[in-house]
């Protein structure tokens, strides 16, 4: 996997609580992102998918492991070298409205990214902002508005325009469609695919919504309690999930017109307390296939098919 554009090895981030305990939100993640792919990172709340994204770009410090971008480790970079990487590797926040300074107009917020990362003149910046604005489907009139004066869908577009103006290579999208109505969600997804093509982007698509991930991603990584439990191409993983957690996750997604989820048997129970992670396989307490071996041995992610790997002794 040396040709990966972005890669993590044993990446970890722990949130320390006041009483000295630590929540191992990301706990040893190996992930390779190939140039040009749309990699979905799915999992339920608290699985560490957003934390993983923020640790990747260095907003959260890596407690362990390395992040490699374009062949070189980046987590210890400083000064201009760090800024250069930052402009290529951008994060788009889930709540686009809250990610904009409420006292700044849209135009000023969009300009700021270029002020920070480029030496362009005012006229050049303005031209770049207008060009990006057109790409995300916003109108120039909206440059003079404040974030609270535009709709949720438009706020997402502004959030995208702000980072696209930098011409990044990798975008990490944190729940880019959550909280949107389905028709607006479809519009934003269409826009993302168009931008992905137009700008030749690599996308990390963090989402809890499996249907959305299936419709847009080329490859998927499933997270559970700070670990990646299964990866695979979208086609393989959704049709033939190998890890029991992936299976239960897919079984719980309603499919209008299909068999009803509530009529079927699936896993009961809730994820364990992240402060008290079970020994061995983290999923064993909810797993119908769990054996004695699962408590003793932590299963490593192993390749099961050309595009698919799962962290399960019995997959």
């Amino acid at each position: 996997m040396s040709d990966a554009l972005l890669e993590t090895r044993g990446l970890a981030h722990h949130f320390r609580l006041k009483d000295g305990r630590a929540v191992r939100a990301v706990d040893g993640v190996d992930l390779a992102v190939q140039a040009g792919e749309i990699l979905g990172i799915v999992g339920e709340s608290g699985c560490g998918k957003s934390t993983l994204g923020k640790t990747l770009i260095g907003v959260l410090r890596a407690d362990d492991g390395t992040v490699i971008y374009d062949g070189a480790p980046i987590q210890n970079l400083k000064g201009p070298a760090l800024r250069a990487v930052r402009s290529r590797l951008q994060y788009v926040y889930q709540d686009a409205g809250a990610a904009l300074d409420p006292r700044w107009t849209i135009g000023r917020s969009l300009d700021e990214a270029l002020v920070i990362h480029t030496k362009l003149s005012r006229a050049e910046r303005s031209a770049r902002v207008r060009e990006t604005l057109a790409a995300v489907g916003l109108h120039e009139d909206q440059l003079s508005l404040y974030p609270h004066e535009i709709s949720g869908g438009q706020q997402r577009r502004v959030g995208l325009a702000r980072v696209l103006a930098l011409h990044p290579r990798v975008l990490i999208l944190d729940e880019p469609t959550s909280g949107l109505d389905v028709s607006v969600q479809a519009t934003i997804l269409k826009l993302l695919v168009a931008l992905w093509r137009q700008y030749g982007l690599t996308l990390l698509f963090i989402s809890h919504d499996l249907a959305v991930v299936r419709s847009i991603c080329t490859r998927v990584a499933v997270m559970y309690l700070g670990r990646i439990v299964e990866t695979g191409s979208t086609a393989d993983l959704f049709v033939n999930p190998r890890h029991p957690y992936t299976k239960s996750l897919l079984a719980a997604v309603p499919q209008p017109g299909g068999p009803r989820v509530i009529d079927q048997a699936w896993l009961e129970g809730e994820p364990p307390d992240p402060l008290d992670i079970p020994s061995g396989c983290r999923f064993r307490n909810r797993c119908p296939m769990a054996q004695r071996r699962c408590a003793a041995e932590d299963p490593a992610l192993r390749a099961l098919a050309p595009t698919q790997a799962a962290a399960c002794h019995f997959a």
Binding site: K54, Q90, Y93, A99, D101, P102, R103, V163
Partner: protein
């Protein structure tokens, strides 16, 4: 920013109490600037005229005369200058010292932050008037010392306020998002955090001006302010005590002036608090 200022002024104009407060404050400033022209006896501020001492209001003397025969009305006007200088300089120094300290304490963690806040706590633990008396007493009664005493006791209020506001804003998503974009910490502090906490600072400055005037008057009353014959309002009230209740105007005029000015600043401050509160701030544009 231009449209926002206009909006603030328009909303302020709708708030009747705030408007009255603003007018009182403007009147105080006008009195201070125009004192030599408004005064009926500008020369009487420092001159002694025993023949006319303790005249009641009316006729030549609008508000009567004091024990040395000086025109109280004229002395009040010149006193407005002293009052304004004391409060503006004292609050200004408190802001210049307190706001940066609060910002530093708010954006850092660990020793520096704790050290600044504990120092502020120590100053806050001593009653302000007592600390001011102690400072003024030690350094001797003079105008600069009064200002020093007031600043020294007032800066922790700004530090605490800025600290709390900074902590709140620091956790907002847009701060993290701006850092994630690649902005330097100093850019985030000056362009994002400070503008978002400026409203409560302005409100506290306004209320602080009124409060400082009151404290300055108290120090003057205790004889710790500027030495005579400075026409300081608090000192004038102190002088008048032995002539009460006969020369009622002697105490009433400066008392009323202090009362009006302090209430003016407070009404303006309360009005600003409502107007500048971002939760009630709307520019009135449609959403889509």
């Amino acid at each position: 920013m231009g449209s926002e200022t206009a909006l603030v002024l328009r909303k302020l104009a709708e708030d009747r109490l705030a408007l009255i407060g603003l007018l009182i404050v403007l009147a105080l400033i006008a009195c201070a600037i125009l004192a030599p022209w408004l005064a009926t006896h500008p020369e009487a501020v420092t001159e002694i005229n025993p023949a006319h001492r303790l005249r009641p209001p009316g006729g030549e003397y609008l508000m009567g005369t004091d024990r040395l025969g000086a025109d109280i009305y004229s002395r009040l006007l010149f006193g407005a200058r002293i009052t304004l200088v004391i409060s503006v300089v004292a609050v200004g120094v408190a802001v210049v010292v307190g706001v940066p300290l609060g910002l530093v304490a708010g954006i850092t963690d660990g020793f520096v932050s704790s050290a600044i806040m504990r120092l502020a706590d120590i100053f806050l633990a001593v009653p302000q008037i007592v600390l001011a008396i102690a400072i003024a007493q030690t350094l001797g009664p003079s105008l600069p010392n009064v200002i020093l005493a007031l600043s020294a006791t007032f800066w922790p209020w700004f530090t605490r306020l800025v600290y709390a506001e900074t902590r709140a804003v620091r956790n907002e998503t847009f701060i993290e998002a701006t850092l994630a974009l690649g902005a330097s910490p100093s850019r985030v502090v000056w362009l994002h955090i400070l503008p978002n906490i400026i409203s409560p600072i302005i409100v506290r400055i306004t209320l602080g001006l009124g409060f400082t005037i009151l404290t300055a008057a108290a120090l003057g009353f205790l004889g710790l302010g500027a030495p005579p014959p400075t026409p300081e309002w608090g000192r004038t009230i102190a002088e008048s005590r032995e002539f009460l209740p006969d020369a009622w105007w002697y105490a009433a005029a400066p008392g009323l002036a202090i009362f009006l000015v302090v209430i003016g600043f407070n009404m303006l401050g309360d009005g600003l608090r409502d107007v500048l509160d971002p939760r009630t701030r709307r520019t009135g544009r449609p959403r889509d």
